[in-house]
Symmetry: C2
Subunit: 175 residues, 2 copies
């Protein structure tokens, strides 16, 4: 599967790196999409540094099978760009898998795709989600059809496990 990972600086290091490594190890292709191609992307803890392989203006949702949104301060940077918001919405319109952890669902709030959906997020974002009509659950991982969400770094193993399960279920014809 081709997974789009949207990322900007100050992401939560482990929430990017651990699922990224696990998705690749399981045989999936992960492309790091930034606000600008080539931008150096350092995690907020300074433990991980990577690079935007491609810029948001060069991609369309139909080129990918799933979307992965790591947490930290990155999602709030990303949602300031309308192209990033439109790209995110595209995965929901096509009912493709979306994996978001911690502050990741901030991007979903701006894309207006959370109303009536069951999900979780970082504790402060849980409250934002409740106020915009989402069905928020405070547990390590929540799977609502193709949407997989988690709260924080300690939830990463459950987040990876359920995301991989969702990817396995996507029918080959839809790829």
């Amino acid at each position: 599967m081709r997974i789009a990972c949207v990322l900007d600086t100050d992401y939560e290091d482990s929430e990017f790196k651990e699922p990224y490594d696990a998705f690749r190890k399981a045989g999936h292709q992960v492309t790091i999409i930034g606000l600008k191609a080539g931008k150096e992307l350092k995690g907020k803890k300074g433990e991980v540094t990577t690079k935007a392989e491609i810029g948001i203006e060069q991609v369309r949702p139909d080129q990918f099978d799933a979307l992965f949104i790591p947490g930290g301060y990155s999602p709030d940077h990303l949602r300031a760009d309308p192209k990033m918001v439109g790209f995110t919405k595209g995965f929901f319109d096509a009912e493709k898998p979306v994996f978001a952890i911690c502050h990741g669902p901030q991007l979903l709030i701006t894309a207006r795709v959370v109303k009536g959906r069951k999900l979780t997020a970082w504790k402060t974002i849980q409250d934002d989600l409740s106020q915009v009509g989402a069905n928020v659950v405070d547990q390590e991982v929540v799977v609502d059809r193709n949407l997989v969400t988690s709260r924080q770094p300690s939830d990463i193993p459950a987040f990876i496990r359920e995301s991989l399960k969702v990817l396995e279920k996507v029918p080959v014809g839809s790829r």
Copy 2:
């Protein structure tokens, strides 16, 4: 006037320091309230370092005349603490002046005090505010009765000017 400044790490350096200095220069007393007394508080740019003079569990809104919420990542940290959210709500219940810039209004969203209020904020937070029923205006400063809000560091002079005007209008009897 006694101004409560609520602050945690990774605040936007200038959005704390410049209004803080201006309020004090105008003769007001500013107390830095943190999640824990004595906590070292470094700005996200690393240009400003200060300390929490007092912890949130030691204060009540009736000890202050106004509330100041600098931006950056600090407000999202603060709103994870229910005592900080309750303290914020206290200023709205008593109709005391509140000055919030950039991401500052995130704390107001969690305190559920923005519905029907006219305000502004950092661009991504403007959208959050719209979705929870606030009347959002994209301009350098917005004054709605005792609530003064601004968007970003370039708005600081207007933010200081209007905040000081609101403080001048507070009747002495209410102090």
